[in-house]
């Protein structure tokens, strides 16, 4: 979208993350002794440390960072799968718990049942989200993602790319206002990744997408936030023209 740098940041945010912190208690690696197994020691690990940002309606915001930067933790908090230690993560001014029907979530190819068919998967989620005219909705989603002829097959027979497309269709089933996508093209070949990126760009929705692929962040995002060690290290309002420092996302990986 061709708008001036900083345009999105000035709009009322659809997603608002404020002073978000999340600490996990992790077990210290033992020495393999009986004592360390019976009486383990724990330490606190700060996965997200005072992160604040907003995503305006219709904006695509990329969260870019190396593995362990805190991207998925932020996504899980926003989706209501985790409670923050402090701070808030709001969707249209309310916690995710009260906005569940308005959020479409992709966490890789998870949340898809391999032991039932693609159609049954989408039908199940359509019923959970109270979608009307289920058949038509599934049909149009399957067609737009090129899944039509495989919808009657068990998902266990799908390729990784097909599962990724189905996961994306699952997120879109209730026509949500907000899409939260955690590395949706991870491990996919160039063509499938391109199809999914195209679908994201054409969705017209408010999108928060995490990736550790610089090119993907630049191609998709109106703004990019770079995360390192759970903190925001940089915000780029015009990522398409900006030069993301070489190795910025890999130095901690």
């Amino acid at each position: 979208m061709n708008v001036s740098p900083g345009f999105w940041a000035r709009l009322t945010p659809m997603i608002q993350v404020t002073n978000l912190k999340k600490a996990f208690r992790t077990k210290l690696s033992g020495q393999g002794t009986i004592q360390s197994v019976l009486f383990p020691k724990y330490q606190s690990f700060q996965a997200v440390d005072d992160v604040s940002f907003g995503v305006a309606q219709g904006e695509i915001l990329g969260l870019l960072g190396p593995n362990g930067a805190g991207k998925t933790t932020i996504i899980k908090i926003l989706a209501g799968l985790l409670q923050p230690t402090s701070g808030s993560a709001l969707i249209d001014g309310m916690p995710a718990e009260r906005q569940r029907a308005r959020i479409g979530l992709v966490l890789g190819s998870t949340m898809i049942y391999n032991r039932i068919t693609g159609y049954e998967n989408l039908e199940y989620y359509a019923d959970l989200y109270g979608v009307d005219r289920v058949k038509e909705r599934i049909g149009s989603l399957a067609e737009s993602l090129g899944l039509t002829f495989r919808m009657g097959e068990y998902v266990e027979h799908y390729s990784t790319g097909m599962k990724a497309k189905l996961a994306y269709a699952r997120a879109l089933i209730a026509d949500p206002d907000v899409l939260i996508l955690d590395e949706p093209t991870l491990g996919l070949d160039i063509k499938v990744a391109r199809d999914i990126r195209k679908a994201i760009l054409n969705s017209g929705k408010t999108v928060l997408i995490t990736t550790h692929c610089t090119e993907e962040a630049q191609e998709l995002s109106d703004r990019v936030i770079i995360l390192k060690n759970g903190r925001i290290s940089k915000t780029m309002c015009d990522p398409q023209t900006a030069e993301i420092e070489s190795g910025i996302i890999n130095e901690d990986a």
């Binding site: 208690r25 409670q83 569940r100 898809i112 039932i116 019923d127 959970l128």
Partner: protein, 262 residues
């Protein structure tokens, strides 16, 4: 609470269950028979040797009593073991998040999972009711009352089971931690033996146990005895309390630490 969501969860569970037909045969038919057969041998030997009765159980009705014991045991396994197992399985399939981020409420999840798991118990329920009708000449009204009370018992056990399932989602250690409680609860529930056969110092604990009262209320009606209104009232209250606590706990507890272990 939306029926559509409950049925969606149940339908999806059933579709997966239907792919494992032997699981249905083993859990629905063979497992209850395995659980009850030892007690059948003991009771038949006991009455064959000339014993007259143990509490309300006598030569004419012990088969019905044991059949209902098998239903209770089956419900107990469904709520306490199978529902938790399904949660664990979905945790490792990484599908449980799809349900947890959806608009489905805790109660809808509980009823959806409960509905699909109870299908395994249908053969033993039908067999027990048929035997009750033949042996005790159970009337239609009492038959319906028994079915309603079985529903309350199942809901109560599901509520207790879902508290465990919620903790297991976050930390599998909880599975082992809760297991001894389930053993004690099982012993104090008197599924296969009347309270009269247990040492009296256990009686206060048994009488405080709502699962025992459920069994008492159901077998009293099924054996053609007096209706135990006190037990039914206690069961109804505990059913509401535990199913609500179970549904809420399951929906909240895993969020604190996240779904860990996969």
């Amino acid at each position: 609470m939306k029926t559509r969501r409950i049925l969606a969860i149940a339908k999806r569970g059933l579709l997966i269950k239907l792919r494992y037909k032997w699981d249905f045969v083993v859990k629905g038919v063979l497992n209850p028979v395995k659980n009850g057969i030892g007690f059948f041998v003991v009771y038949s030997g006991f009455f064959g040797a000339g014993a007259v009765h143990i509490g309300p159980v006598d030569r004419s009705n012990y088969l019905v009593y044991l059949m209902f014991g098998m239903i209770f045991h089956s419900f107990f396994n469904k709520a306490f073991v199978d529902c938790s197992e399904v949660f664990l399985r979905e945790k490792f399939w990484q599908t449980i998040q799809g349900l947890l981020v959806s608009p489905a409420k805790g109660y809808e999840i509980l009823l959806g999972y409960g509905l699909v798991e109870v299908i395994d118990s249908v053969p033993i329920i039908v067999a027990a009711l048929a035997i009750s009708v033949v042996v005790v000449q159970l009337s239609i009204v009492k038959l319906l009352a028994v079915v309603a009370l079985l529903g309350l018992l199942y809901l109560l056990l599901l509520g207790i089971g879902f508290i465990r399932a919620g903790f297991i989602l976050s930390d599998e250690n909880a599975a082992s931690f809760f297991m001894p409680f389930s053993w004690v609860l099982f012993f104090l529930s008197c599924f296969y033996y009347p309270i009269q056969s247990i040492p009296t110092f256990f009686h206060p604990l048994i009488l405080a146990n709502p699962v025992y009262h459920a069994g008492l209320a159901i077998t009293s009606v099924a054996l053609g005895g007096d209706v135990q209104w006190t037990s039914i009232g206690y069961l109804a209250v505990c059913c509401v309390v535990f199913s609500t606590v179970g549904a809420l706990t399951c929906a909240k507890v895993w969020k604190r630490e996240g779904i860990q272990g996969y």
